[in-house]
Symmetry: C2
Subunit: 407 residues, 2 copies
């Protein structure tokens, strides 16, 4: 069977996902991408995330990627018979990953104590907005709130006074995905401890909060506030302590990042711009002066970049060995030779769409690479297969569950 063939270092690991939307399902997708057998439990109407993003005939291309490598089964968790099925599957799984509101699974009769009666050394990973305890435990939270409370949103803005518009979202629910990645990391950390030679075979939990996952990425923001009282402020496309480094508009409307902020880099950049005397200008003679006069400096660089298309600019900058890059769109990513070379942009066969362009597997494991075994399945696509293989049910048993609206 396809699902049990070797497909990365996590072949042989089984993970039960009782999750929805992005965070937990993204974490289990990463485990599945490295070869784990991920069984996704969905309500009979399906995970609402299947309806997110743009659609063709009710099917979203995003789901083709978001649901890939998983075996999808349906369960009405409010039906009494669903509980015993979950417990039967948990008994054959290494880990359960869930992202309901804290306490919700326990209210369904599927709290950690019950799950561990089914399997004593089960790892249970909880993903939530604010964590499993504390005064905000029961508050609703999703990606944008986690990003906001974690400090990312405040910094995703132009410098104070530069714009009347609000700070921006980064365009994706990155707080969810970062939390999912932390959950995947945590699951493997405690499984390593549990399963290794001489390991202790004890059960362990993970308690991953969106807000905390985001906050953990905020570098010196908190230490600098604590020690100096500095409240870190956004700096737009620039960096507070070095200039020039920013995005500049090219003639064809594309943005090009240029980082020419050391003295030698700035000298080369000035020459490439045909203004070799700029470093002698008192406003720009060293990094401190350039930072103080960054508006003037960026205006001069912007006047130059607007005379050339992005491709021409990037060629000039590469010749001058100035760190620089196009600000990539989906179109640029799809055409990029590096991504294609490494399989990071790949066409995946999907019965619904013919082919779907998908992001590849991260991290790469050269000796035993993960792969896209199949695209996001239909709702309940693996009901018979999973319930048969793991719980010994016959097709008639499964039909019975369907008739009773358990699945």
């Amino acid at each position: 069977m396809e699902s049990t063939k070797r497909a990365g270092p996590l072949t042989g690991l089984r993970v039960l996902e009782v999750g929805h939307f992005i965070a937990a399902p993204f974490g289990t997708r990463l485990l599945g991408d490295l070869g784990a057998d991920v069984i996704k439990v969905e309500p009979p109407a399906g995970d609402p995330v299947r309806q997110w993003g743009t659609h063709i005939d009710g099917n979203s291309p995003w789901w083709s990627q978001h649901g890939r490598n998983k075996r999808c089964i349906t369960l009405n968790l409010k039906h009494p018979k669903a509980k015993e099925i979950v417990l039967g599957l948990a008994a054959k799984s290494d880990a359960v990953v869930e992202n309901f509101r804290p306490g919700q699974l326990a209210r369904l009769g599927l709290g950690p104590d019950v799950l561990r009666e089914a399997r004593a050394d089960l790892v249970i990973a909880h993903v939530s907005g604010y964590g499993q305890d504390g005064p905000y435990r029961d508050k609703a939270a999703f990606g944008v709130i986690g990003e906001s409370v974690g400090g990312l949103r405040h910094l995703s803005d132009h410098a104070p006074g530069m714009s009347d518009l609000p700070p921006v979202r980064v365009g994706v629910s990155i707080g969810d995905s970062i939390a999912g990645l932390y959950a995947a990391f945590g699951v493997m950390a405690v499984l390593w401890q549990r399963d290794r030679q001489g390991g202790d075979a004890r059960a362990r939990s993970l308690d991953v909060a969106l807000s905390e996952s985001v906050l953990s990425m905020m570098e010196g923001m908190l230490p600098e506030y604590g020690v100096m009282g500095d409240i870190k402020q956004p700096t737009g496309s620039r960096i507070a302590t070095a200039a020039p480094t920013s995005g500049y508009l090219a003639k064809d409307g594309k943005w090009v990042l240029i980082a020419g902020n050391s003295d030698p880099l700035f000298a080369r950049l000035s020459k490439a711009m045909g203004q070799p005397d700029l470093p002698q200008d008192a406003r720009f003679r060293d990094n401190r002066s350039r930072v103080a006069n960054v508006e003037d400096l960026d205006a001069i660089i912007g006047d130059w970049t607007r005379q050339h298309d992005a491709d021409a600019l990037l060629a000039i900058l590469a010749d001058a060995d100035i760190p620089s890059s196009l600000v990539y769109t989906a179109e640029d990513i799809a055409a990029d030779p590096q991504y294609r070379h490494r399989g990071m942009v790949q066409e995946v066969e999907d019965p619904l769409f013919g082919q779907v362009l998908q992001a590849g597997i991260v991290p790469g494991v050269p000796e035993d690479p993960g792969r896209v075994r199949w695209p996001g399945p239909k709702i309940g696509a693996h009901n018979e297969e999973v319930l048969g293989e793991l719980l010994g049910m016959t097709a008639a048993d499964v039909q019975g569950l369907r008739d009773q609206e358990v699945i």
Copy 2:
């Protein structure tokens, strides 16, 4: 000894970091936070990241967090004697994590083949801008370039036509941190496979690229482009398919996120705003209409929010059960009771600063929590301890290395 006491699920794991700046060191910090013994190899002048961020007397509070839980040793990798020390340490380590330019370690005589002569089942994790092969392998890349090539920067912007300013950086090198987190996940995935009962004890590598780590978080961007040809565009603080959901300015100059985009939520929000008839306005009667007239709608909501301070607004919104949040700054985070309750914001004793406010440990492992054992050490703080404990060197041996400028 402090470093070998139980301090999380990775107690007993040893990781050698031959890295600098953010990506690899952030990944190893996560391993150390969960209890691993991380040995950081630095040049005698120290990792340049120690000089990043704001300083007091040449010391950065960020380093107190970024370097925590590591044992720091110095090595001049160009000295012939350094090689044998690295190999001696590799022999006693489970994994090596590095983020030099691809091929750089091999040029120093420390390629994977040499390292594996020291220890056959060594895991080697490479973190780089574009990956270890392909046409861009040798290109310089750092956080902002990875974020740009990964597609995040393009989306971190206002909607086309809304602003002349460039797309913004999120204020931190999030591409580096995401890559570091992927490396930590990958290390644990292959170690699980290597070390578990019945594992195969084979050596494995990780090949983590910044650009790819960012791209993997871009949700439906690539599938939607491939299937529909849609090039995903930024939407500022809003979401393209639902309204109202954005950041709104309060009277005291703070931003408040409000997500009132279902019909019942919008009805409650309208009532809370004292304009209960808004849902009857033809422009706002359903989500589709609200999205089409979002400029009008956000102007009305913004007129309301500017009459109240953020705290008052949040109280009104909480009463009406509307998902909402303050856009937190460092100050808000430091004062937040949830973060304090969960130890996610904590004071760490640091000999240089007295106390340093640091972000806590993610993920939480309730049964066996990681902890901050010590803050970022001085350069070479553990030279005697590590070289003595792992390589059997005496104080005189270490002094000899110092005299020869090996360390």
